[in-house]
Amino acid sequence: MIPIPRMPGLLEGPTTQVGKPVSRVDGRLKVTGAARYAGEHAIPGLLHGYVVSSAIAKGRVTRIDTGKAMAVPGVVHILTHENRPDLAWLDRKWKDQDAPKGSPLRPLYDANVSHSLQPVALVVAESFEAARLAARLVEVAYEAEPHQTSLLMNRDITFTPGKDKGGFEPPPAPRGDADAALAAAEVSVDLEFTQAAEYHNPIEMHASTVEYHPDGSLTIHDKTQGVLNCQSWVCGVFNLPKSSVRVLSPFVGGAFGSGLRPQHQLFLAVLAALALKRSVRVELSRPQMFSFGHRPETWQRVALGASRDGTLTALVHEAVQESSQAENYVEIVVNWSGQQYRCDNVRLDYRLSRLDVHTPLDQRAPGAATGVPALEVAMDELAWKLGMDPIQLRLKNYAEADPNTGKPFSSKELRACFRQGAERFGWPDHLPPPRSMRDGRELVGWGMAAGVWDAMQNPASAKATLGANGKLSIATASSDIGTGTYTVLAQVAAEVLGLETADVAVEIGDSSLPQAPIQGGSWTVSSVGSAVKAACDQLAKRLHALARDAEGSPLAGVGSVRFADGHVVAQDDPSRRMPIQQVMRAAGLPVLEEKALSVPYALGRLRHTLGTHSAVFVEVRVDAELGTVRVTRVVSAIAAGRIINPKTAGSQILGAVVWGVGMALEEEAMTDHTLGRVMNHDLAEYHVPVSADIPDIDVVFVEEHDEVVNALGAKGVGEIGIVGVPAAISNAIFHATGVRVRDLPITVDKIRAGLAALP
């Protein structure tokens, strides 16, 4: 193979700003309430919209009586499918950047109802209270049709989707003959897994405030992970020029994927603003947060065959997930199983089953958080059957190159994750047998699992502006959904130009700023960070040239410089230096501005598989009689390339572990299939972990050097933290009790049933 050239502009160590545990630069704004969220903008004359949600899961609206609602003082208008203004009719116009194949939902488009809680009307009033009251008084009559909302009832009615959504490839063709190898295997496990649907439920509920300007243009404050996605979608649906629509989202109160697609509150707020030529806000209630995308309910089968020495000889992973009637939401689920371990006989199969639900939606580590835990529980069960330590089984089948493609990994320090994680946890050389560790009334168990996520990158742009005062401004249309984007972009810029992080101001979340991708997939540092670096590199180049050419410059004729302490410094002679401010003064420049587009390093990416990896170790305590579980210790060892900020990255992993605890033990949308409706639609009954559920969590970032992923060598940590957690907890519960529960969440009733069934 022809060697490929080294990636241009690779950030070399040692670094001074990158790698520092800087506290988030937007923290003060957030804790003091100065940061304004989408639903918090006070605008004179603002109208308030409240959504009327469908009471049925499928059918038609036959009549809407708005008489009583219109009589409520303050009500201005009620929008329904019967009186809505004209809208785009081509599906293409309703597509957004994260839309899968199919026809996107068109709220208030016609009388059809395709899922429970679908918006059927919007009440617009002078106050929120009037709008909410009137929404209760809108009388909607339906003609219900039979619906199906149960994946398990519908499991046999499936189809195989294609490449129906960006970022997800269909499973690779089978290699070898997995089914024959499974049948012939010396040792095997063949297991079924199910998992409940989960809703994102960020603490900030979805809201859009649409400012209507006298010239008909709109400024939209939206809760979104992509201001440009929302801008182009609004322009498409409402046939508006981009110059008339500006979308702002500088602060987001959590999103986790729920803000990747424009949600219906945005549509309804714009619809009302345009119809009434007034500014309008629409904010969803907590129950209405269950009216759109979710992590889909899933059925899986994982079968593994091995020889007595633990060599994997067969791997079958099949998954069936729900999608809606109109769109093919895919997250593939099974592909990581072909990538994580070496095995000659592999069959991966992924199907969809259509239900009368809203289209599911990416949720933290979509696909991986569902599929990898099933694989990792199966590996644990195989290890016990083989009488092998679970880490040893994983090392025995460690994939040095990606078995799905044969390509090498750009970097993969999973071995170090196992080693360092095990050491921090105190993982023993010989795990005591299941159900053998007891402390008082509690059974104690240890479990581990590996995790994997992709290291993706998208084209992105950024602008860097240096002022005469030596302060730098960075601008890009990216968002910061609470991940620390503001902070790490400042660190990257400061690193390149030898500044302090505090000297860098970052402006994001504005569609008028340079292009950035939707914030998802753990690709923001990789994409936008690289763009910021590129723009700052260009600035550095110009500063170098200006410094060299300045009259009487100490750097005259110097060919190679670095940037430190606000100075341009000769690479070989630190005594030859010039302050950046002086460089600009000498050149007579009040500001210096550079804009750059960064694109993935295609040559390197084409020839490698790129991913983050993790090893998670968990201790649980299960009350032997009651069946209640406590997670008492977690160690998460992460390999994700260079860590730009160990504090914000550490927080990402902490949050993901917490969510993993919820996924393993608590989160479950409970659907009444007679009504086709999620019934526990509030945070009192839809359980996520509370502080009392969460033990000390130890996050370890292992050293990982990567020269392919991007110029920063950083892979992004948004998703990897959750992937291994549910399996590690499940494996620890087995170790504690001898009970396997392969149906998430592992609630007390399931553990009790398992305990009762023990011999």
Partner: protein
């Protein structure tokens, strides 16, 4: 939220005058004029359009706050004392540790700071169908049916339910009060009366919208705790889906009077299993005269749960209740795991 008018009387007489208009309402919970204190449950339900009072009578200026001695060794808990004040009162902690523990097992610190004792025992069920006005619920809309019976019923009743309603009472505090044989003191147009705690909440029968024996024109003024010898051997055990801020799947308030290694008196109230805190005095009596022990406790559990009935998702509660009862008694008796 439906429009409502608001009054803030300074005296009990003023409040009762406001409530006089409720006479003839089928139940206090559905009366047009509602007293409001902490508002932690009522305001949520009004926003959800489940409760639709036309007038709120703010009773927080009434002299119903404070915890005082009853004179015969018991304590009187003011209706307007907050759950937090009550739980952390030194006398409550020393003499009724069961109540202290039960209150702290419920809600969150913020809610306990707002919620009052009167409001706590009057709180409404957390049944999903009761909260979702698009679904059938005989309690919210009599005659509309019970969605939970054949629907999602993980958190529902296994004892004393009917074909009309399988909702549970969500309070932890009330379970302890039931075990402690508390008395609810109420005031109405005809003066004061006392309702034994066991008679305060109703079973659903065919009128699940009638929840308590409080008359619509009455207001709770206090809860009396009798003197007892139960403090030493008592506990509140709550099994739930997460460690905090979750309603009980099953909870048990238990207390034992032990003398020379023999049970002289036993109390057991269950939460999360019925439309009211569940007492079964016949089952409790099985323990009297016995030495505390696992077999004896299991016999009580079996007796209490003899008629328990599951509805699908909640059937596991029967077994869980058995485990919780035995464990709670063991803890109360100070028995270590074998």
């Amino acid at each position: 939220m439906r429009p409502f008018s608001y009054a803030r009387p300074d005296s009990l007489d003023g409040a009762l005058a406001e409530l006089a208009g409720n006479q003839g309402a089928p139940d206090a919970s559905a009366a047009p004029v509602r007293p409001v204190a902490g508002g932690t449950n009522l305001l949520d339900l009004m926003k959800a359009d489940v409760m639709r009072p036309t007038r709120l009578v703010d009773i927080t200026r009434l002299a119903l706050r404070g915890i005082t001695e009853t004179g015969d060794g018991g304590l009187r808990l003011g209706a307007l004392s907050t759950n937090a004040e009550t739980a952390w009162d030194e006398r409550v902690r020393a003499r009724y540790p069961l109540l202290h523990k039960a209150i702290l097992a419920g809600a969150s610190a913020q809610l306990r700071n707002m919620a009052t004792n009167g409001g706590n025992i009057l709180q409404r069920t957390r049944c999903y169908y009761f909260y979702d006005t698009a679904t059938p619920c005989n309690k919210r809309a009599p005659g509309s049916g019970c969605g939970a019976l054949t629907g999602v019923n993980r958190i529902h009743a296994i004892l004393g339910a009917s074909e009309h309603c399988i909702a549970t009472h969500p309070s932890d505090m009330a379970v302890a009060l039931a075990a402690l044989d508390a008395t609810v003191r109420v005031a109405g147009p005809g003066g004061e009366r006392a309702i034994p705690f066991a008679d305060f909440h109703r079973l659903p029968g065919d009128t699940p919208h009638r929840e308590t024996t409080l008359r619509p024109e009455e207001v709770v003024t206090a809860i009396d705790l009798p003197a007892d010898n139960l403090a030493r051997h008592s506990t509140y055990l709550k099994a739930r889906d997460r460690a905090s801020y979750a309603f009980a799947l099953v909870s048990a308030a238990v207390a034992l009077e032990l003398e020379d290694g023999v049970v002289r008196g036993a109390r057991l109230a269950l939460g999360g299993v019925a439309h009211k805190p569940w007492r079964d005095r016949d089952a409790e009596a099985l323990l009297v005269g016995k030495a505390p022990g696992r077999a004896a406790f299991a016999a009580v559990a079996d007796a209490v749960l003899r008629d328990a009935k599951g509805h699908g998702h909640n059937t596991f509660k029967i077994g869980l209740a058995r485990s919780v009862i035995v464990r709670a008694f063991e803890e109360a008796a100070g028995l270590e795991p074998s």
